[in-house]
Symmetry: C2
Subunit: 204 residues, 2 copies
């Protein structure tokens, strides 16, 4: 029996810096993650390579794949489809490799339905950590400003409900370090480890 | 509101190398853990200092503390008591520091009752990881030997049921690295992080 890979999903509010964190992770020499290439119906931009930057498909092909339930998640933006193909992710996980997705919050919800055992990481804006000092305050902020921040924090709290981990993106290298630690730790989770051994013992 | 510390409990079958791993963790310069000093009724050995190696107590004092429910866990070995004092752990966690306990499996069970939110790490012997290759086998092992290993593995599986994580002690630096990653990851767990923010928002 082979250890199955982990599906790692990085998401969070738009503008939080998901893409920057993902690029930093994949720029590291020792990254043990496979990046799942998205599929899209938009035309390749100059320099973009099919199968590297995206899988480029016609609208008809994409819609056919939707019908066949071949996406983990997909969405339409400005008249074009974007989606995460299911087969690649399934195959790569079966090979025992960890697959990394960086997607929008709406997409993460769809992934959770298909891969409940996935590892869901919410990248949070630093204002959430600043909350404490803001509330404690030094009299330098108006009541309105404090109230606004608290409302924002409430919205983000509601959003993170789906996730297993919350990583604050206050410093990119710290965020990357935490994400790597989370993946390492998850591979040691008793429920995951145990399952493998039980399967092994039953095989014999 | 202050972030509470994590109670980290390292345990596992006797002889697995818990003490060695703990010493390695505390020999690191950047260890952010506080080590909880045990209390005992045995006499100090040469060079042992009260409040450093152990808190040395009389049998009467120890039994009085048992009556007052002042131990997270305790046990009697060869006529002497050994235990983990509750107050120090409570105070240190309140200060926001992570407390590290290295204890026997029986003790870990008692700790789980008092600190269900603790972080329980099972240090496993490498034979568990070797299980796969042993079972797959290369015809070099007798059936009896394979069967014995599988029985051992079953016993260890039953023991690890209480724990959140399983770290295999095949190489000490790898084990220490995993334990550090687990603690870092746990500080990002949504359920822990969320609780802090909800408390903060409610305080206002």
């Amino acid at each position: 029996m082979k250890r199955k890979g982990l599906l790692i999903v990085l998401s969070g509010p738009s503008g939080v810096g998901k893409g920057t964190v993902r690029k930093e992770i994949f720029s590291q020499k020792n990254t043990a993650f496979e990046y799942s290439i998205s599929m899209t119906t938009r035309s390749p931009r100059e320099g973009e390579v099919d199968g590297v930057d995206y899988f480029f498909k016609s609208k008809e092909d994409f819609e056919e794949l939707i019908k066949q339930d071949q996406f983990i998640e997909y969405a339409e933006y400005v008249g074009n489809y974007y989606g995460t193909p299911l087969q690649y992710v399934k195959d790569t996980l079966e090979e025992g490799k960890d697959v990394f997705l960086e997607i929008e919050v709406q997409g993460a919800r769809q992934v959770r339905d298909k891969f409940p055992e996935g590892l869901f990481i919410f990248l949070a804006p630093p204002n959430l950590t600043e909350l404490q000092s803001r509330i404690v305050g030094r009299g330098t902020e108006t009541d309105d400003s404090v109230r606004n921040r608290m409302n924002e924090a409430r919205k983000e709290l509601a959003m993170m409900n789906l996730y297993d981990y919350v990583v604050v993106n206050d410093q990119i290298d710290l965020a990357v370090d935490k994400i790597n630690a989370i993946v390492k730790a998850e591979h040691c989770r008793r429920t995951r480890v145990e399952k493998q051994y039980i399967a092994m013992l039953e095989e014999k």
